[in-house]
């Protein structure tokens, strides 16, 4: 599925929830089910420093597709990365670098995050795009 198709799918899923507690319940579930990252990647090099929670993000090229794995010490943060991974993992480096992640605003995620968390979300997106750009150069 394309970046856009997956975003539409997520937007539609979120439209069924009554309130933000339900949405958080779902995000927490995603966090709990995020495949665990290989421990060797839980190091300084893969750390995205947020103010309050830590995120480790790793990317590798499999054929034409980028595979992301990640972890965080906070479960809601983990759920949010799970959403980003669902959209961007398995896409081409170019599509990742150029992705317009409008679902974040559409499901109201950004406005419902505290300023600290919202900044953390932006750093995650930025790091994923940097991986996209870097792997694009590896390919060419």
């Amino acid at each position: 599925m394309s970046v856009q198709d997956i975003q539409e799918e997520i937007i539609s899923e979120f439209s069924f929830f009554g309130d933000w507690m339900e949405k958080y319940e779902y995000i927490i579930d995603l966090g709990k089910n995020l495949p665990i990252i290989d421990v060797q990647y839980k190091d300084e090099d893969h750390l995205i420093k947020g103010c309050q929670s830590q995120v480790w993000l790793q990317a590798e090229l499999k054929g034409d597709e980028v595979q992301f794995t990640a972890d965080s010490d906070a479960i809601i943060t983990k759920g949010i990365i799970a959403l980003l991974i669902r959209v961007l993992s398995g896409q081409s480096p170019k599509d990742i670098a150029e992705a317009d992640l409008y679902f974040i605003d559409q499901i109201g995620l950004r406005e419902h995050l505290s300023p600290t968390r919202s900044n953390g979300l932006l750093s995650m997106v930025k790091q994923m795009k940097i991986y996209g750009l870097a792997l694009q150069q590896v390919k060419s």
């Binding site: 958080y24 309050q52 906070a74 479960i75 809601i76 943060t77």
Partner: protein
């Protein structure tokens, strides 16, 4: 759930809550439960009215106009200084310096007192539970003067041991700087005893009173503190304003902190002479409305009575601890025998950031993280806590909501 309506003394605290317009707000569709007063308190209508009145009727620069309006503004401004002096029982208004807040007050002393009195090898003694505002200014002063920072360790219960403190005082100690009430743990330090022990060796003491003055009666003369610092915004007053109390004998010897208008007597290009106390330390146009707002806050608190406020908050603290202590896997940080208005805790297996986020969705405002006390968090081996902090306008219902919220969030997160 049982909701005893606590009434301390003759004060009806339900009526007091109604004085705070912001507490009527809803947050995320729920009535706001505000439990972050240690970060900044809400303001009663009386303070808001005083600020409005100043800008509507009195606004003019102070200490310089020949016209009546400026005189009225100056009178209102200086009335704030008298109120602050009375509030902490300062010996004289000359000892009450207007600053932007606790941080600026400490920076002023670290810079000015440090330049004059810190020598290479001199020791500045602080405790392990200081706010960054009472750590970093001393580190800067140490870099500039060659003095060194010494830290009194914190026990598992979040206290300092007075004999350990005493043993760390030495002939090299140039100043003790300690927090009166810890913002992260609520510990009330035995500052009177600490000051007595320091003075026995002729060592001056600065007390960070940011979290003390909102909750208890403070008498700087009874404490015999050399410096006492606090912020208006944590005690129902406006932001950007605070008080540095300093004994005249020190303030007279200290060089000015910043230069500008107000703080001078005469200026020539060859030589400038400085204004007298307290103006020597107040460069530039001050925060006039800040002084007026602070006076309104002081009047408000004094009308209720500091002892009533302390008793009320003590009851609320006990009630909150009782409500929370039954929750599965809860761990409290800060079990000092003397404790004020702060409940700091973690839930086993739950990141404080996650807990804070879900509480926010339920309309409950708490703080999560290191509370600007990273060394203290490191001492406990944790990245941070969830902190509920109380003020006179909180209710037992707020604490019921908190306990219910923590249980609900805990079930979702574990």
């Amino acid at each position: 759930m049982l909701n005893p309506s606590i009434i301390s003394g003759k004060i009806d605290f339900d009526r007091i809550r109604a004085d705070f317009p912001l507490l009527q707000r809803e947050m995320n569709g729920k009535p706001l439960v505000f439990l972050d007063s240690a970060a900044s308190s809400q303001k009663p209508r009386q303070v808001l009215d005083a600020l409005q009145h100043y800008y509507t009727h009195l606004n003019a620069n102070v200490h310089r106009g020949v016209y009546k309006l400026s005189q009225e503004a100056t009178d209102a401004f200086e009335s704030g200084r008298r109120a602050a002096a009375r509030f902490i029982n300062a010996g004289s208004e000359r000892e009450v310096i207007f600053v932007r807040g606790t941080s600026e007050g400490i920076n002023l002393v670290a810079s000015s007192f440090g330049r004059k009195f810190f020598k290479p090898g001199a020791e500045i003694l602080i405790t392990g539970m200081e706010h960054h505002s009472n750590i970093v200014p001393w580190q800067l002063a140490c870099e500039q003067t060659g003095a060194v920072l010494k830290v009194v360790p914190v026990t598992d219960s979040g206290e300092i041991e007075i004999d350990v403190f005493e043993n760390m005082l030495s002939d090299r100690t140039a100043l003790v700087a300690a927090v009166h009430v810890s913002n992260a743990l609520g510990t009330v330090n035995p500052v009177e005893e600490m000051i007595r022990l320091a003075h026995a060796r002729a060592i001056p003491v600065l007390i960070d009173g940011a979290q003390a003055v909102p909750h208890m009666r403070v008498d700087v003369q009874a404490l015999d503190a050399d410096f006492y610092v606090f912020s208006a915004h944590k005690m129902l007053g406006p932001t950007g304003f605070g008080i540095l109390y300093g004994k005249e004998k020190w303030l007279e010897q200290m060089p000015p902190y910043q230069g500008g208008g107000e703080m001078i007597k005469t200026v020539t290009f060859e030589k400038t002479t400085y204004n007298e106390l307290p103006f020597k330390f107040e460069a530039g146009t001050p925060d006039i409305s800040g002084a007026i707002g602070l006076e309104a806050a002081i009047n408000y608190m004094e009308k209720i009575g500091l002892d009533n406020i302390q008793a009320r908050e003590h009851e609320l603290l006990q009630y909150g601890l009782d409500q929370l202590s039954g929750i599965d896997g809860i761990r409290f940080y800060g079990a000092a025998k003397q404790k004020a208005s702060v409940i700091s805790f973690l839930l086993d297996g739950v990141h404080p950031f996650d807990l804070g986020t879900l509480l926010d969705k339920m309309g409950i405002a708490v703080r999560t993280g290191h509370h600007c006390t990273q060394p203290l968090m490191a001492r406990f081996g944790i990245p941070g806590t969830v902190r509920a902090s109380l003020a006179l306008y909180n209710s037992t219902e707020d604490l019921d909501q908190l306990a219910a919220g923590v249980i609900r969030a805990g079930n979702m997160l574990r």
